[in-house]
Symmetry: C2
Subunit: 450 residues, 2 copies
């Protein structure tokens, strides 16, 4: 029998529930607080922005939540997604380690984002939302929400971080193909945007600013709601279908991961793969090291503080306890736009504080080098975001080459890089650089917080 590259599940094997890790944790995560009263926010506080079904998922104590049939039907356009064994990369590295990757690039947006965009659009449509507003960094989330809204007949309006809007014109085109209306952020359409532009007309934008703009627009009209592509509990919940499938597929492959690696921006891709494996680890069934990889230019887990902060730049969201670099921290415009977020999902931050996961930071040139090596061996050009995880996988595989350990490494290849190819051109031309992020910059951003 020839060596197998892919482990596929039939549609009939697709998980029909999302996994909520909160009731399995040794301690509950701290609640979000109202910025005025500093009291925990209740469902009613969030109702102007989100449909009640999502608010209830945000605070649910149920371990498993059924995936609605209408959402499952759309998931099956691309799910279950494939699990690959990177045999040609292993051979190129000469490592005894076994490298597996769960690939989400087969989705309509080319990333994991539709896993939550589809249920968010579904619940909004069910509660009468006419339009959804959102932010997008690299454009993956905006594309996912545009596609999802098209399935349920909802309008979609997207604020795309200016740096990405200018660098990745194909992303805007894809959002428009799926029917969305796209603006660069900061824009002059919102108070938040105008304030930023007044201070800096050439602002490259940030996810925090784009969130402020989208939230502000949604709050003004009761038929309009807002959708967030990461960070919140319900978003991480929806992504757990990745890990649930991967558990089944690793069993098909007959291997158990010793090391699980994922990139983290807001945290939903990492959590999606990791949480089901963490459940099995907490139950004593498996014992993998679970490692988050973040960009060295935006290191919220490894260099941020764990404290209450706003999710957006203008301070329109509740205060969330999370690892943060400060809500007005503006990261370098690196190519992994999806990782340029000042904070980390509160749930993931809490789990990190509990000591259940590790974190490391990587400079982008090492990541592009890993992306190139992966593409030439495996035939998939990865998005800049998951190259952070691939760089760590390759480093781990090379450590195994030194020690002779036959570790099983599993990673989340959360998206393809077809719309990020100019970044690879820049890297091949030698114009991509790493800049040391000084502690003074972080301290200054954190000093502003009350």
């Amino acid at each position: 029998m020839a060596e197998q590259h892919k482990y596929l599940l039939d549609e009939s094997q697709m998980p029909t529930q999302w996994y909520n890790i909160i009731p399995d944790l040794p301690a509950p995560p701290p609640p979000p607080l109202h910025p005025g009263t500093r009291e925990p926010v209740g469902p009613d506080d969030l109702a102007p922005l989100f449909p009640m079904a999502l608010i209830m998922q945000e605070v649910s104590g149920e371990r498993y939540i059924d995936i609605p049939d209408e959402v499952q039907d759309i998931y099956r356009l691309w799910r279950p997604s494939p699990l690959f064994r990177a045999r040609r990369l292993e051979a190129a590295l000469g490592t005894p380690a076994k490298l597996y990757y769960k690939y989400e690039g087969v989705s309509p947006a080319g990333s994991h984002k539709p896993n939550t965009a589809v249920p968010q659009a579904y619940y909004n449509a069910a509660e009468g939302t006419r339009k959804l507003t959102t932010e997008t960094g690299a454009g993956q989330w905006g594309t996912a929400l545009a596609f999802a809204c098209a399935q349920f007949g909802i309008e979609c309006e997207v604020w795309q971080v200016r740096a990405s809007y200018d660098a990745k014109p194909y992303r805007k085109a894809m959002m428009e193909v799926f029917g969305a209306n796209v603006h660069p952020s900061p824009s002059d359409l919102t108070e938040s945007g105008r304030a930023i532009l007044a201070a800096n007309p050439d602002s490259p934008g940030s996810l925090g600013i784009a969130i402020s703009e989208a939230v502000e627009m949604a709050a003004q009209d009761p038929t309009v709601r807002y959708a967030l592509g990461s960070v919140l509990n319900h978003v991480l919940l929806h992504q757990t279908i990745i890990g649930e499938e991967a558990l089944l597929q690793m069993a098909m492959a007959g291997d158990t991961p010793d090391v699980l690696v994922g990139c983290t921006g807001g945290g939903s891709n990492f959590a999606g793969l990791a949480f089901p494996f963490l459940r099995e680890k907490m139950a004593g069934n498996i014992n993998p090291t679970i490692r988050a990889v973040e960009p060295a230019s935006c290191p919220s887990l490894t260099r941020g503080e764990y404290r209450y902060d706003f999710g957006d730049t203008a301070g329109l969201t509740p205060l969330m306890k999370m690892h943060t670099l400060g809500h007005d921290f503006i990261p370098d415009p690196i190519h992994a736009g999806g990782l340029r977020y000042h904070g980390m999902a509160p749930l993931l931050s809490h789990i990190y504080e509990l000591g259940l996961i590790e974190a490391v930071a990587k400079p982008q040139t090492e990541c592009f080098e890993a992306g190139l090596q992966f593409a030439r061996a495996e035939g998939i050009v990865p998005a800049p975001e998951p190259t952070h995880a691939l760089a760590e996988c390759i480093a781990e595989a090379l450590r195994c080459k030194e020690t002779g350990e036959e570790k099983v490494i599993l990673t989340a290849l959360c998206g393809h890089g077809h719309l990020d190819l100019p970044a690879y051109s820049n890297f091949l031309a030698g114009t991509v650089e790493d800049h040391e992020l000084s502690q003074d910059v972080i301290d200054a951003a954190l000093a502003d917080l009350v």
Copy 2:
């Protein structure tokens, strides 16, 4: 049971032989001729350009040819490719027809092209080729060959049609990610290119010109050979794995196609899906209508002549009997760059003359409209080339809506359009137009032929 969207084969079910249709035809195709002697060319005439294994496949009388293990191993990175039932598009159209599409966009290049690039690189490596040269239109073929060469340690040099080179910069980046060296064509690196540039410094190029440049470079160095991405018998042969898989998958779905539709540029995508079904049709097992769809701006089957002509603009190739618009016909720079070829595969032209297949031509605006409708319903943005087939599928499905016929329609979705998104932007902005191709232009190009 929920409605199924995808029909997947395991790697162990991947076909292990290509299908050669020639011995099953009622008459053999006319041979290629030496342009000087007008005598059939022999294997030795082709040896400067191609390895002997491929030349032998070009003239083989065997019905089935084994796929080498090394090629199968690389195929399994993405093969078997999925067959989809377009249930959400059917619902959007309100048609009783059943629409299936065989999707080749999961490959490293995002199209069907690696199916032949990998064996071509393999046989070249086995016979000591140091470098392969080639042309590319939209860039799909150049990307495929770049990836394939990287697998076998061969250098790859690509001449990309200038119109595509300028309009699709992401394609060049992707070829470079896979390690290729890319030039716009016409270039000043070859006699053929310099002659074109002398006559027209702003020439948008054509596949015929780019072929001349790549052939000229290969002919000058015995360690360099040339690879062609369509047209030739061995290329069509390698693509038959598409149709062999689709036969198995349609059986899984429990349906038999009444209509089979594919787009045609050089003919390899269409032949790849159609030939195994045509074998079954000639054997009396099934009876589908088999329909090629070409662009109205480059209609070699529907408006060209069936006669001997050169495969390239400069006249460096053997004379091939094929449907042609004349080797110096330069089609409008439409967005489906992969369909801008003056001729049609000699084998497919012969089969068309035998009355075994039909052909229609479509203007590009109808095709983009079909592409948009497909993307919003099915979540895959198609390349401009297969939107020609999709436009015909939608027209057929709407005819079924009129008549109430529950026809089964099968098409080849030969690639995604991630690197063609500016074309969709132009279409959405209303700047894509159709131009009537006058008979005078065709007559003039054909009048030059001897």
